[in-house]
């Protein structure tokens, strides 16, 4: 009908467009076309993952594109987590200095 011929407004952004905007926003460039393709795939995976988290989350959190959207979960953990194993947890609270205040 006539409705179908009407302009449906702006079409949704393609993944590649979204990724281009991400690159501009966070100033990202990739050294080779292969690296670009890999990062685009990771980006797509992370957006899908964010959508799944959004649906599963029991709170009010919103998940989506962030500065870390082109990183794998492993890379994210390696870059921003602390990998050192907690083998040195102090079991005694350390007391500092003298009990007498005013001493140097």
């Amino acid at each position: 009908g006539s409705l179908l011929t009407k302009d449906a407004g702006p079409r949704p952004l393609e993944l590649i467009d979204v990724f281009k905007l991400f690159q501009i926003k966070y100033n990202r460039s990739y050294s080779t076309p292969a690296e670009y393709a890999r990062r685009l795939a990771i980006f797509a995976h992370n957006l899908a993952q964010a959508q799944r988290l959004q649906e599963e989350d029991l709170g009010t959190a919103e998940f989506g594109e962030t500065p870390f959207s082109d990183l794998t979960e492993e890379e994210f953990g390696q870059l921003y987590g602390h990998q050192r194993a907690p083998e040195r947890i102090p079991n005694v609270v350390k007391k500092a200095g003298s009990e007498k205040w005013g001493e140097s």
């Binding site: 594109e65 959207s69 602390h82 990998q83 040195r88 609270v93």
Partner: protein, 248 residues
């Protein structure tokens, strides 16, 4: 324990959001944020301490390769305090000349540090009466976090695998998402919205990330292992103690 608490609302207590960049020093930033907040609460003095000193003077040598908040407190105790951020600024990588702690005047120091009980009610009580505390959480869900309260399960966010230290600055209650109660086709009704208790946490990924650098986690189910390592420095006002003596 009050029903809500937000140290950000107190004037000049919480320092501005830091950015760890490509250095894995969340542990040093969380400790620095903790010391800055406590120093401001106890001494009413606006101090900004040197995160770089914590990295360069860490006994394990390379602070950008990770660590734990207690490493930072041990460094503060061993160096008898911390220099200012202005004198000894953050570079995002270890200083090739090593620890420069002796070069600069100390602007803040601590008496000791303690680990709180792994009980969310106890942590809330301490937070409300003493000041912000550091916690170490599983950061898995933060990769795609934008805003709101994360309510994780132990499956979606393993509370045993904690790998990111941040500063706990408050807690509160919000309204849960509006949902449709399942029923017959004609009798769908809206679920009553219950309140969602949450923690307010200060991250170290810049103010552009999350909720102006902060994020919120559900309070009450040990979300992402928040109760595993609640650690805080102790910064006390000098008080004269009466000497005690043992009766002869």
């Amino acid at each position: 324990v009050p029903s809500t608490c937000d140290w950000r609302k107190a004037t000049n207590i919480i320092s501005s959001i830091k950015n760890q960049k490509n250095c894995r020093c969340c542990w040093a930033i969380a400790a620095a944020d903790n010391i800055e907040a406590l120093w401001r609460i106890k001494h009413r003095q606006f101090v900004e301490v040197s995160v770089q000193e914590l990295l360069d003077c860490d006994r394990c040598g390379n602070g950008c390769k990770g660590g734990f908040v207690w490493d930072a407190y041990i460094t503060v105790l061993n160096n008898s305090g911390l220099a200012s951020k202005k004198d000894y600024p953050f570079q995002g990588h270890p200083n090739p000349n090593g620890c420069l702690a002796k070069k600069y005047k100390k602007v803040a120091w601590i008496q000791d540090f303690i680990m709180l009980s792994s009980n969310e009610q106890v942590i809330a009580g301490y937070l409300a009466t003493h000041g912000p505390v550091t916690v170490t959480i599983n950061m898995k869900l933060l990769q795609g976090y934008q805003k709101g309260v994360i309510k994780a399960t132990h499956t979606s966010c393993d509370p045993q695998h904690v790998d990111h230290s941040v500063l706990l600055v408050g807690f509160g209650k919000g309204k849960e998402k509006e949902g449709i109660r399942s029923g017959t086709l004609f009798s769908q009704s809206r679920k009553p919205r219950r309140s969602v208790p949450y923690w307010i946490l200060k991250n170290s990924w810049g103010a552009e990330w999350g909720e102006k650098g902060y994020f919120r986690l559900y309070r009450g189910n040990n979300s992402c292992g928040i109760t595993k390592y609640p650690v805080t420095a102790r910064v006390d006002r000098p008080v004269k103690r009466q000497p005690v003596s043992c009766p002869p």
